[in-house]
Structure formats: C-alpha cells, structure tokens
C-alpha cells in the first residue's frame, strides 16, 4: 500500500501550513529520518522527517510549494520499489471539473481519464533511467552540446531522473568555466594527483593554457575553505520567484547600462513648492515625479516602452510603470497603469496605496503584471549609480541615485561655480530591442525633463 504523506500538525493550535519546499524530489529514495519537506507554519519554518522508507511519489496535481494546506491534507506518497502509483492520485475538487450541473450524473471515471487512457502506454515506453546511465531529453542533449556541458555527471530533475533543459541551464550558470578549461594533459594529471581544482585555477589564469608549473604553484598555496559553513535555509517562495526572474533576465536579455549625472535642482525646487502648497495632503515623492516625467519621455520614445514577444516586438498601448518596492518579504514591483494620462497627484496617491499594499503583503498578482517600464530608486540608501536588472519582458529599467548638493561648474567661460543638487541616473536597456543611441536619446530627454521640469508640466 502506498504510504500517504500529509501536512503534519506542528503544534496544538496549528490548523494549516504552507508547504515551503520539497527537500526530497519526486522519485527519490527516502530513508526513515530523512527530511522530506519544509513547512511554514504561523510561527516558523519546520522540517518534516520521514517515518518510513520508500520512493517519494509527488503526483503532478499535488499542491505546489507555497500552497496553504490544511493539516492532514495529502501531499504525496511513499511507494515501495515496483509498487504502482495510486490510481487516481489526489482527487481534484469537483469545482475543477468545469462541467457544472452534470457533475452529479457522472461517476468518478471522468476525472482520472487521462491516467486511465494513456498513463500505461507512456509509462512502459519510458523505462527508468538507472543511476549508472542517466537519461536525457533530446532538447537537453542539444543544449548541452551548444553550451559545451558534460551532462553525463549531472543529476536530472525530470520525472524518473531524466536530465532536462533546466538541468543543463543550471549547470551552465554554475560552472561557466567548466567547459572552457584549457590545460595541458600533464597539468591535468598533476592537478588530479595534487588535488588542485583546475576550475578555480582557470578563473585565475583566463588568458592562457594552464601548465604543470601553474598547478604545482597552486598546490603550494593554502587551499581555500572548500565549503561555506553556516545556516542553510531554503528559499522562501518569494525569494525563489525573484531568483528565477532575475536569473532569467540576466541570461536572456542583452543588458547595457547607461549612466549620466543630472542637475536636479529645479526638480528639488518643484517638489518644495508642491510641498509648501500641499496643505496637509500627501506630497509626491521624487519617484512619483520621475514616474510622471518618464511617462512623458516614453511617449516620445515608444521603443523603450515596447516589449519582446518571441520573434516580434510589441508596441505597448499605454505607459505602465512599475516601481520597485522594498518590503520585509523582499522586492516587489507593483505597476502603476496608464500613467501617461494621470496627474502627478493621482500618481502619488496611486503609488502610495500600492506601496502600502505591498508592504502589508496584500498586493494581488494582477497588480504586478503588465508593466512596460520600471523605476528603481536607491537614493534613500545613499547609492549614486548601479546596474539594475531589466524586469522582462520590459525593455528597460531606470535606476535612480540619491540627490546630493555638489559644487559644479555652471559657466566654464566665466569660471563660475555653484552649489547644485545633482543626481545619477542608470538606465539598463535590452540591446536585443533597441540600440545604444536610441536608449541614450531617451535618457537624454529624461535628463532634460529633470533639469527643466516645466517642459513636461505643459
């Protein structure tokens, strides 16, 4: 009989828990005492151990990581070798059937249809990849060849341990040098004998072939600490999403960052005037002002407001600007829709509401979709310039530095200096979509709008 793995009760008052992460993978062998998964209960992150031995079977319709599950809710099974999967794994709730009133007419045969019909054929065709001989999907094999990754030693994350595309991509990002070690055969043998990590050495000697002497010299140096000790904690679901998005952006886009310093004195003056006139109402932040003026600039430079979809570039039908918000749980980017037609005050009140919702953890997924451009402001941390990562599929992101008074030359001929409020702008754009000059022209316009705010007030 398959052994059911359920959401445990971890305390007298616990009624439900969030499945944080599976520590064991589907298909992995489990021993009693092994940690199976982690649970975020109302108090803390808990590790859940296995009571029994077996092979972990996580059905495809099992609750995903991050899902809240009532205590006792079925998560997975432990199977004995050769034991068949439970027939209808986790019976979905009737509301999923999409059949409405006919439900009562139809016995339980229908929900497990796909399994009954085809699972037997496909299972038998598949076979299981033994440990000695990992299987790999054709696509993964092609990409491995393209990226020069030796896949034979990788562990697959596909069902039955098959190596699939994401395993190759992960290996490629972890070991960028793995494929490009250039070393003489003798150096390789000596490295083997002396226990020198050629990968590490290749990073230090990127420009030529590693020779025996390099290896011997490296062997005389004290070996760096091989493992980082310290607390290990699983990624929170949000951290994981951020990690995936950022890595995806970094590996997909062709980012170029342009940096420029701009005189923001007039912008500072403008905000002061608004503040003086606010009469107790909320005062727009610099970010709000930047949202407005960027929207104007984007309308003039729609290429920076476009997005890439497969082989085509889609012009956006409005300017929707995301603003990066730091929260306790991590970075969130709520989107201010259609800012082109809104007043600064409207933008300020919208963004205040979004930021509050973000920090309270009440931001819906919809509020973070559909952006065409993002602004990230690190001025409050006394950062001047940085290289923001594009929020794909958007084309560009504007990094905003702190505003700081500086002595600057205002008239070189008259040798006249003045104290001005200066600010750095860092624009990262996707070179796949636009060229440098296009992006630079946009940034130039933003710069102009900051230096002369009345240009966009009209």
């Amino acid at each position: 009989m398959p052994i059911e793995i359920v959401m445990p009760r971890l305390g007298w008052t616990m009624e439900e828990g969030v499945l944080a992460e599976w520590v064991k993978k589907d298909g992995e062998s489990v021993q009693p005492g092994d940690i199976l998964f982690t649970v975020e209960s109302d108090k803390a992150l808990n590790e859940v151990e296995a009571f029994d031995a077996g092979i972990l079977h996580i059905p495809p319709d099992a609750p995903a990581a991050g899902t809240t599950i009532p205590v006792g809710g079925l998560l997975a099974y432990l199977l004995q070798p050769g034991e068949a999967h439970p027939e209808s794994a986790l019976t979905p709730s009737p509301s999923h059937s999409g059949r409405g009133e006919q439900d009562d007419l139809v016995p339980s045969a229908a929900p497990s249809l796909s399994r009954q019909l085809h699972a037997p054929e496909t299972q038998s065709e598949r076979g299981r990849g033994g440990e000695a001989n990992p299987t790999i999907s054709p696509r993964a094999r092609r990409i491995a060849a393209e990226l020069n990754i030796a896949w034979e030693t990788l562990t697959g994350s596909g069902r039955t341990g098959r190596i699939i595309e994401r395993d190759i991509r992960a290996a490629a990002t972890q070991q960028p040098a793995a494929a490009t070690i250039r070393a003489t055969p003798l150096a390789k043998r000596v490295a083997d004998d002396l226990g020198v990590d050629l990968l590490h050495l290749a990073d230090q000697i990127p420009d030529r072939r590693i020779e025996r002497a390099d290896v011997e010299q490296a062997a005389r140096r004290p070996t760096p600490e091989p493992m980082v000790n310290g607390n290990r904690s699983p990624l929170t679901p949000m951290r994981r999403i951020t990690a995936e998005r950022m890595a995806h952006s970094a590996h997909t886009a062709a980012p170029v960052t342009l940096t420029t310093e701009v005189d923001a004195t007039e912008l500072v003056r403008l905000r002061k005037q608004i503040k003086a006139d606010s009469g107790g109402r909320g005062v727009p932040s610099y970010t709000d002002l930047l949202v407005k003026l960027c929207a104007e600039a984007l309308r003039e430079h729609p290429a920076l407001n476009a997005r890439l979809d497969g082989d085509s570039i889609i012009d956006s039908d409005g300017v929707h600007i995301g603003i990066a918000v730091d929260t306790e749980r991590g970075l969130l980017v709520p989107v201010l829709p259609d800012v082109g037609g809104k007043s600064v005050r409207q933008i300020a009140s919208d963004s205040a509401a979004l930021i509050e919702a973000a920090r309270a953890g009440k931001l819906g997924a919809d509020a973070m979709r559909g952006g065409t451009f993002t602004i990230t402001n690190l001025g409050m941390f006394e950062i001047d310039a940085f290289t923001p990562i594009i929020n794909l599929p958007e084309c560009a992101i504007l990094g905003v530095g702190r505003i700081v008074p500086k002595q600057v030359v205002v008239d070189a001929d008259a040798e006249k200096l003045a104290i001005r409020h200066m600010m750095f702008l860092s624009l990262t754009f996707d070179h796949r979509l636009v060229d440098g000059a296009t992006a630079a022209r946009f940034l130039q316009r933003v710069r102009q709008f900051i230096a002369q705010p009345y240009l966009w007030l009209i």
């Binding site: 059949r99 016995p107 229908a110 019909l117 085809h118 596909g158 069902r159 699939i164």
Partner: protein
C-alpha cells in the same frame, strides 16, 4: 465587432456565395423548405428555389456520387449531411471518385465540392450521430479537411472552401454550432493549412481542435493565473496540417500535448507526434503526450458519454503531468 453563432457565420458565407455564383447549389435531407436540421440553410430556399436548395431522398451514396458528376461538369455542389456519420454510406464515391478525380485527369477536371456536416460527441447523440472521423479523411490525398472552432474561423474557412476548386470536408462540431463569437464585417477568407495560435506561451505547447478547444482554453486561462505559460494552437485544418507552426512552438517550449476528442490510434495526435519527432526531435524536453477520447463507439447515457471524452479536469491533469516530466 458583431457577434454571430457558428451556424449563422457559415450561413452568411453560403448565402453571400450563392448570391454571387449561380453555379453553387446545396443538396441534403431537409435543407430546402425546412432550412436544414441545424438551420444551415435557413432562408435560402425562399431566395433560390428547389434546384439550388435541393432536398434529397435518404440516398447518401446517390447524391454524393451525383454531386461528384455535377462538380466535374461545371457546377459547385455543397452536400449538407446534417450528421457527418451519414457520409460513411458514400465512402466509395468520396475516396475512389471525388478524392482521385483531379489527379486521375491530370488536373484537367476540377472537383469543387463541399461535404459538410456535424461531428462530435455530446447531447446523448449516440453512436450513429456523433462520429468524428477526421483522422480517416486526413489520411487521404485529394481532399481538404477543415475543422473550425470559432464562428469567425468557420466563415473564413467556409469562404475558402466555397471559392476553391478542391473537394473540402467541412466538419462542424455540434457543440459549437450555437456558440457566439465575433465575426468580422466584410469579405474575408482564411487559407487552409494555417494554424491559429490562440495563446502565446513558453512552457508547453498544446494542440487542440474543434470543441476540445473550448475546454482547453478554459484550462489554459485557469493555469495562466498560476503563472503556467501555455502556447495553444488550433490547426484549423487537419489536411493540410500546419506542422511548421507546431514545430516553431515546440522549439520554444520543448513540450507538446495534443488534445483530441476522437480516437488516439492512427489519429491526428499520432501524426503530429511523428512529424515533430522526425523534424523537431532535438527540441523535445519531454515525451510527446496525447489526450484522446476513449477508443470505443459512442455510448448514449450521459454518464457513459461523459466518460469517453476528455474534460477540463483531464486536460488540466495532462498539462500538469507533462510539465512534471
């Protein structure tokens, strides 16, 4: 845009074509005064009379063969079978005569004939009024097989059928007939062999057709809310089959599921899978999956009938299952 039902859309195409071209005539049982069992010809008899809206005896082989001869000699028949199951009584005329005539005459004869009718399981139609059969026809050279989903596609594809010179099987899923959808004003035609990409996505390619598309779209939208990115493709015609669009998509996603109401063995899914394996093997990150109706004659009882066609739950499960590969 205005909304029409599937049937109203094809009827509009037919009506416009009959106004423009006196060579077009319709034959079938009850398509004259009665206007067709499914209202496919409603209102046309009054306009065009009994020669152009020709009621027939229950004589499928006879009128299909007759229309073959008519098409060869310069008129443009539209055979309205009501239920497409009835074409089976005229398979010899279809396969041995209609499909081969252009070839055997080395292109000197044309066979501009449309054979239309309802397909599909539903409404307790039972086994003689619910066949799909399009894989059989997709197997044959010399005929085209259209399988529209939306009213707009139905009109565009029907127009192509009405204007072309090749024999066309135009299959209308009965559960789609009264479904409304936007239909463009004015004249337009959708060429055969051009798939429609209904949803763009990156994680999995799903090919679905006819009424299965309605269910598949619902599942796609549900899963999209979870961030599952599905590319959904409607081939629209299964002969010719637009394999290039599917290959392009699989190149992007690495995963392919074919959802098809009718039988799996030697079916459309098998054909698509074979072509994708042959031409896109190195793009596959998982085995190709098929979700089909059960290989059985159609039962009558609602409980049995529902058990032989994929429903939303089965489609969702198949997608999740393939993503977990």
């Amino acid at each position: 845009m205005r909304e029409l039902t599937f049937t109203a859309a094809t009827r509009e195409a037919l009506s416009e074509a009959m106004d423009a071209d006196p060579r077009i005539f319709v034959v079938g049982e009850g398509i004259g005064v009665r206007g067709g069992n499914f209202n496919t010809t409603a209102g046309l008899y009054e306009k065009h009379g009994p020669m152009r809206l020709c009621d027939t005896p229950i004589s499928e082989r006879g009128f299909v063969g007759m229309c073959a001869g008519a098409a060869m000699t310069g008129s443009r028949p539209v055979v309205d079978f009501m239920f497409f199951d009835f074409i089976l009584d005229s398979m010899g005329e279809l396969i041995n005569q209609i499909a081969k005539m252009q070839y055997m005459s080395s292109g000197r004869l044309s066979m501009p004939i449309i054979l239309r009718g309802c397909i599909g399981i539903g409404n307790s139609s039972a086994t003689h009024h619910s066949g799909n059969y399009y894989p059989i026809f997709a197997h044959l050279p010399g005929i085209r097989v259209a399988l529209p989903y939306s009213p707009a596609d139905a009109k565009g594809l029907f127009n192509t059928a009405l204007r072309g010179d090749d024999p066309v099987l135009f299959l209308e899923h009965k559960s789609l007939l009264n479904m409304k959808g936007p239909v463009p004003d004015g004249d337009y035609a959708i060429p055969f062999g051009q798939a429609n990409v209904l949803r763009n996505g990156t994680q999995i390619t799903v090919v679905s057709m006819a009424f299965m598309l309605k269910k598949t779209i619902e599942v796609c939208d549900k899963l999209a809310a979870e961030g599952i990115s599905i590319e959904l493709i409607d081939p629209r015609t299964v002969n010719p089959l637009d394999i290039d669009t599917i290959l392009t998509s699989v190149h992007k996603t690495g995963r392919l599921l074919i959802v098809d109401e009718t039988f799996a063995p030697c079916g459309i899914g098998a054909e698509i899978a074979a072509q994708v394996v042959a031409r896109g093997f190195d793009d596959l990150d998982a085995p190709i999956a098929r979700l089909n109706g059960v290989h059985t004659p159609t039962p009558y009882s609602p409980a049995l009938e529902a058990a032989v066609v994929p429903d939303n739950v089965a489609i969702e499960r198949a997608i999740r299952d393939l993503l977990a590969e």
